[in-house]
Structure formats: C-alpha cells, structure tokens
Symmetry: C2
Subunit: 448 residues, 2 copies
Amino acid sequence: MEVTRTLARFIVSSRYEHIPQPIRHEAARALLNWLGCAIGASHHETIDNMLAALKPFSGPPQATIVGRSERMDILHAALVNGVSSHVLDFDDTHARTIHPSAPVLPALLAYAEHKPVAGAELVHAFVLGVEAEERIGISVFPEHYEVGWHITGTAGVFGAAAAIGKLLKLNEQQMCWALGIAATQSAGLREMFGSMCKSFHPGRAAQNGLTAALLASKGFTSSEQPIEAKRGWANVLSTKFDPTVVTEGLGERYELAYNMYKPYACGLVVHAAIDGCIQLSTEHDLKGDEIEGVELTVNPIVLELTAKREPGTGLEGKFSVFHAAAVAIVKRMAGEAQFSDEMVRSPELVALRRRVEAVGDASIHKLEARIRFRLRNGSVLEKHVKRALGSFERPLSDQDLEAKFRGLVDGVLPDSQAARLIELCWKIADLDDAAEIPRNAAKTADRR
Amino acid sequence: MEVTRTLARFIVSSRYEHIPQPIRHEAARALLNWLGCAIGASHHETIDNMLAALKPFSGPPQATIVGRSERMDILHAALVNGVSSHVLDFDDTHARTIHPSAPVLPALLAYAEHKPVAGAELVHAFVLGVEAEERIGISVFPEHYEVGWHITGTAGVFGAAAAIGKLLKLNEQQMCWALGIAATQSAGLREMFGSMCKSFHPGRAAQNGLTAALLASKGFTSSEQPIEAKRGWANVLSTKFDPTVVTEGLGERYELAYNMYKPYACGLVVHAAIDGCIQLSTEHDLKGDEIEGVELTVNPIVLELTAKREPGTGLEGKFSVFHAAAVAIVKRMAGEAQFSDEMVRSPELVALRRRVEAVGDASIHKLEARIRFRLRNGSVLEKHVKRALGSFERPLSDQDLEAKFRGLVDGVLPDSQAARLIELCWKIADLDDAAEIPRNAAKTADRR
C-alpha cells in the first residue's frame, strides 16, 4: 500500500474550495487560541534562555517572535514560537492524539512574513498540515506514545512539512520527499516532561518540518515510502501501525473537527471542578468568606495527580485541586494569572483552600465533577458538571476563546493590540496578507 | 545507576594532559581524513540543493563551508559540513559502530571560527565527543541499528553535544542537560539510505548537538537521566541497553583508538580485491592490455553487493567489483575520481573489466581476497590479501592518508592549499588558533 504517496497526492491536489466552512472557522479558532498561548508564554525563562543561546546565530530579521520585539530568520522564528506555544501547556488538544497547532502555525506564520501568503491559503495549508500530523499520529497511537515518544513532536513534524509544502506548491514527488525529510528528523522523548525540553519538541517539529519542505522544494531527496517502509517511521518508532488511518476517507472528514481548547491553565482533570466552582460562585455572587466548606467528588485520577495540599509556587498550584477550586471561587477565572506564585500565597486563598475537601469516586468520568458548597448561612449549593467546559462535548464558545486570549495577552501587549489581533484572527480567511497577524503580534520596541 | 551523570562528570573533569599521545595523533589523522572527505564532496548536488534551500535564512557569515566560498552562521555551517562529510561515504568508521568524525568535527570547527579555541582544546573536545557517541552507540548496538536507526545520526548527536559542551566549559549539571537536549533530538532512519537524507543525518547530528550544548550553557533544562531513564533514549530507541558500556573504564582507554579510514571510495567489501590489484599492477608495472584475465576469490557478500557487470555511471561503478578491479590495475588508485562516469565508460577499462571474473568462497573473510592475473605472455601472478588496507589490522599510514586527502581535494582547491591543510592538520595540537584549519579550507572567491 502506498501510504506516503497517497497522503502526498491528497495534500497536493486539495483545493481551498474543498474545505467545509465549519473547518475553516475551526482554523480561525485554533489560530486565536494558539496565538494567545504563544504570546502569554513569550517572556517565560524557557524563551529567554533559548534566545540567549541562539540569537547570535540568527539570520535576517524575517519574522516576528510573538509577544516580543526581537525578529529572527524564519527557521528560528518557527522554533521559538513553537516553543512558546507549549510552555504553558495551554494549547489545543486533538480528541485522540496530539497538540495540533503548536508544530504547524509557527512555521506557517513565519513563512508568511517571508513570502506573501493570502489568509485563505494559510487556513488551507493549516487544515492540511493538521490532517497529515493527526492521521500519521493516530495510525501509531497509543503504542507509539506508550513506548515513550512525545507524539506532539514526533508526529507534529509531518504537519509542518505538509503545511509548508502546500504553501510552496510542491508537486507530488517533492511532497513525498518533504514527508520523508520530516520523518527522518522525527524526535522527542516523554522522559523530558517536566523540563524545558517538553516545549522544545513542538518548536523543533515546526522548524524541522519547515526545513523539510524547503529542502524538498530544491530537489533534496528522501526515501519515497518514509512512513510505511520496513525501516520507515511507523515501524521504527512504533509497535503498531494502521496504514488505513492515514489514507482512508481523505477529504471526506477533517481531523480539525475534533479539536479542543482548554479554558483553564492547568491539567484537564481539574477542569470539571473549576468549572463547577466558577458556575456556583457566579450564579450566587459569592465571596470566599461566605463559604464554610467545599466538597468535591471527582475521579480518583484527580487526587492521584493534583492532591497537593499546600502548594508553594504557581506551578505547584496547578497540581493542587484545592488551590484550583479556591481561586475559581474567588476570581471566577483560572487562567495563567490565577496560577502565579502570588496567587498561591494569598492569605484569602490559602484560608479558603484549607476548607476544600475532595473525594475520589471511580464511577465519575475524569472530565466530570460534583461540587457542594456549605455556606456560613447554613444553606447548601450543589452543581453537577457532567463534562467540563472545553471538552469535546462542551466546546468553548468563540467568546470564551476571546476571553482566554485577552487573559493570556494581558500584561504582554496593550489591550488595543489584543483587540486588533482578535479581529484579525476571526477574519484570517479574508486577509490578503496573512502576515498581518504575526506583524501585529510583535511587542513594539518603544513599549518595552 | 547514574549513566548520564557519570559520563557528564568524566567529560567535565577530563584534562588534555590525560589524553595519551597516540590518541592525540589519531585525532589529527581523523581530522585530515574527515577534511578531505568534506572538501571532496563540497560541490555535490546534495550540498548545492541544501544551500539553495537554506542560504536565505543563514545568520552572520561566521564559519566556512569547506571547499566553497560561502560562509554561514555556525549552526548552518555545522549542518552543511556535516552533510559533506558523509556524501561520498568515504569518512572514518569505528571498528564496532558509527562514523565518528562526521557529527563532531563540523560542530567543533564551526565553533572555533566563532570563539577562539586552541588546537589542543579542539583535539581534547574531539576525543571526548567521540568517546561519548561511541560508548552510547555501542551500549545499544546492534539491536538499535537493526530496528532501523541510522546510528551515525542517532548516537552522533551526543558526540557533538559533549564536544561543544567541553569547549563551552559546561559544569556537570549543564553537561547532563546538553546530553539530554541531544537525546531528545536524536533521529535518522536507515530507510533513507540511497537518498540525500543519509548524509543529512550526521549533518543534523552536528547541528543539533551544537545547539544542545549552546542551550544548556544558558540554563535550558532537560531530564537528568536522559540516556538511562525508563522513557529515556536507550529504552525508547533500542530493545537492548548495556549501561556499563557507557560508564566502565572511562579515561582508561579511548574509543578513538579503534578508528579506521577507507583507502578506496567504495564499499569496504571491495577493498581487498582493489588492494591486491593495485599491489600486483604496481609490483610488476603492468599495463591493462598485458592482462588476459583476472580471477578474484572473495567472500560471497562481495558478489551479493557488487556484482554489477556493466555499470553505466560512476555511482554504479562503486557496486561493480569488475570495474573496481579494472580501474585499480590501470590507475593504481581507487579514489573518488576513479568512480566517475567518464572512468566507468572508458573503453580501455570496459574492455579490461570484461576480462575480470569473481567467485565466492565462504571460507574467505569479507576483508580478504585472493587475486590471480593470467598475463598474455603466459605467466601467472598471484596475491593473497589477508586483510584489506584500511582495516583495523592494516591501518592506513599517515602518508596514505595524505595521498587520500590530495586525491579528494584535487580539482576543488589548489595543490598549495591542500599542502598547507595537510601541514595544519598534523600540527593541530600545537596551533594557537584551531580556526586556521577551516579558514584555510575555504575556496577563495576569486578562484571560482
């Protein structure tokens, strides 16, 4: 079976008119969500350290480092923005596998600042990039992940190669090479989770996929069965491979339809509890000191992963369902700002989190929670969250995404710039020049 | 067992004074051999295509592309020179695993043009880089290779990271990170053999290892057990891992002692036959038309891999033991120039190769051959080559390496420049500035 060639042929022959309107709109949603995450992390020490190390070797200032005033060549911009995408672990998640935007959008936007790309072209290339990386990823999932590969890096590189290959108008042969050059750079170990290398993976995937397409466009050759050959990507990097996942129904459905966006800046398992706390606090306009006690009933995995009783830092706060519930009640939000060191140490929140209890119940789904508030006035309030906001069943609305974006960008770029970016993301498909987005995502030097 | 940390500690604490003189000299031999291979391939279409694709994104002209007039930033120079190293498949080979110089020397020489590095420092860093990549490679060999990994790429990246980390004077913690950042970029599939991606692997290894050390020096973190952890490099990329190979006897012996250099520009299995033909032709000062017939007795693998009767191109000539024997007799050499399209099509050589016969004999070692010439004057000449020149048992002499270097550089750089480079390589350990070597390996623009 010709796996690589079939996929290459689909990518090369796809036309923008083929992409259904809801998928085009999902691309705009993914773009807005991704951009907020990347800008929000743009001054994290992961990025500062990377720029300190690599800036002396950057080429011409071709592309924006989002949220910052530096400009770098497009290969470095794809890398750095790819890392920013994932530093907060707040980027999008496909229902079955990877974080799809982080390896693809940084490559596309960098390229769009180098050569003119219409907004619709960029949307089209993004949809196809996601299609390639998701199908290849799912074809080896979950065995590939269980072996120890960080699939967002290992499959993501195909997404960037396919997307940039589409912009470069590669022919079928060149697209096979691009996927092959991507395959042979595929890397990223799960052992790195918890270190800066975790977000390095989608960054390298973006940069390596971009490189793969550029090389293929100039006749740099690879194997022509890089995915399916005996010593090809799937067999070397996985114990399972289902080639039909890559090739069946191409163009009939799009993987981007299964994309999810996190509303809260912490692990998915805490989302249902946060969701219920925000709902109850908002509906009854509660203050923290009106609450005598909070009881959460959650899947046992929540206690396994996030039972930190007395978090000392913002990062530890992400692993404390108690802090998460307390901050959700008081601030009615749970964005990156609600997991700062200051927030975790606030006396009001410390006092409230000590009044939160959580019990495990295996009959409860990991994106489900039951929340019970006992108020000091004697009344009891209850909420059953069947599926957390942001799950596939309860997607974030466009307005939710805008609010998340504003929360992430706040403190990095002025409000007026955030508003302009929101507007540009929604109309990406109508822009004559997709580079308006990255250009407007730069921090202007005089504001620093 | 602390594998990564033990190795890191050794690298960090090693002093130049610890390196035995024969190992230092072997470093100079490896440098001379590597440089010839890289210059010899510097105008191959693999390099032309890569430069056409990537030149627009290069940073400042910090480092030489050997054999060419272009200069690029050190990350790109490490990549491009790393690719040149392996295009002709003529670079060095460790007795048990990888091609050690290709992933390490390009990174070191690029860095030496960016910041001052004494020759002895460069020799020291090279020896340690080879030590790291060889030990890590052997610890998973051959299972890792059999799965389908191109070990020169996958293990080579550790060599570049260790070597550059030594130049950067990383501390033990940073060296662990450098090895970790290297591990999580480790890539390269054997499926790519036969395409331009094969030589891409050591190039990316050089560039990624260099990047790893630069990032670690600025506090970019990774796992601290990247090699040995459950989801670390060895367990994810191999079914076998012997950690003691990495850690035992560090500093007591050096892997560079087991390095081999190919005298002839084709697969090792043809070397014994070529060797015998050159010896007989030289000893008896024969011309091709004095020979009525040639009989070669060789290991059956030789016929399996190189039985192309009528090669049409230089590349096909490398897979023809008949052409190899004929050209060895007539030219008394078998360098890159003896495997050109013109050479393969020369009527004199075509006529002679049709008078060459080869028979397989499983009792003969694959680096062994029996050669028998029947002359038109009725006499018979015989030679038994027990081990080919260039094998571990019969290493190339320093003079042989010089001759190989001149053959590779011929037509790319002037003879005077070749002579100067030979002189510099031999005295590398005494140079105040190691960058004299790459600077002298550039093609000056006015000569093009």
